[in-house]
Amino acid sequence: MSDDLDAIQRVLADDVESFRRLVERYQRPLLALVRNLTPPNTDHEGVAQEVFLIAFRRLASFDPKRSAFSTWLFTIARNRCRNELARRRPVAGAELPDIVDPRSPERAASEAELFRQLDAALDALPFEQRSAFVLAELQGFSYEEIGRIEGIGVGTVKSRIARAREKLRRLLRHAAEPHL
């Protein structure tokens, strides 16, 4: 995106405040990725903030000829999430994010339980499958972009996503049945 490049050039020319444009544009999808790639008790915003800080430090090494800024940023985020999973730094008292739910309390409770099971199912996936699945299904990246982020070929991306779907389907089958 040319607007990204404009902001990057300004930041590199010492206009640090232009970095805010990149933060505001990517904060939502980045946070969504972090939420889906790390356990619920992780300090998601802390991890997302670190990702932006790493991107700021390494901005001079970003090459627009090799990839889009979003691909580059999500590669950093994906690697940071993998490190976070390895480190497993739970935050005391952290809970699942609250959402305003207009449905009945029974239905909301049932969905909360379903979400817990979904998180558990995602946690049960190997990180590579989980990452490819989340990038494709929840972030809407193309297989080519996922390949660049993961550093693998398109064929491997497809097989990882297929395996992740199959495992999730199997893990969630009995959990989803009462909800169907």
Binding site: V16, E17, F19, R20, V23, E24, Q27, R28, P29, L31, A32, R35, N36, E45, A48, Q49, F52, L53, F56, R57, L96, P97, I99, E111, L114, F115, L118, E137, L138, L168, R169, L172, A176, H179, L180
Partner: protein, 80 residues
């Protein structure tokens, strides 16, 4: 996964960041930049050592100094 479940999952995952998230990131970025600006004198040796030619020259100088010192120590015995 059925569509309703998938949509719920997606909606929950895409919950908004806190209102001051961008402010906090920018605060961290400004701190990072301030630290960078404060340490040019400390960073100079690191900057010099970051080029291969300077690194090699520094190693050669260190080796020569070391050999000179060793020779000076050995020379004490020969002098006697």
């Amino acid at each position: 996964m059925n569509d309703e479940l998938y949509d719920l999952f997606r909606r929950r995952a895409e919950a908004e960041p806190t209102a001051d998230f961008a402010d906090r990131v920018m605060e961290a970025v400004r701190r990072e930049r301030a630290v960078r600006c404060e340490r040019p004198s400390k960073g100079l040796p690191r900057l010099l050592l970051s080029t291969p030619a300077v690194r090699i020259a520094a190693c050669v100088l260190a080796c020569l100094a070391c050999m000179y010192r060793m020779a000076a120590v050995v020379a004490v015995f020969f002098a006697q």
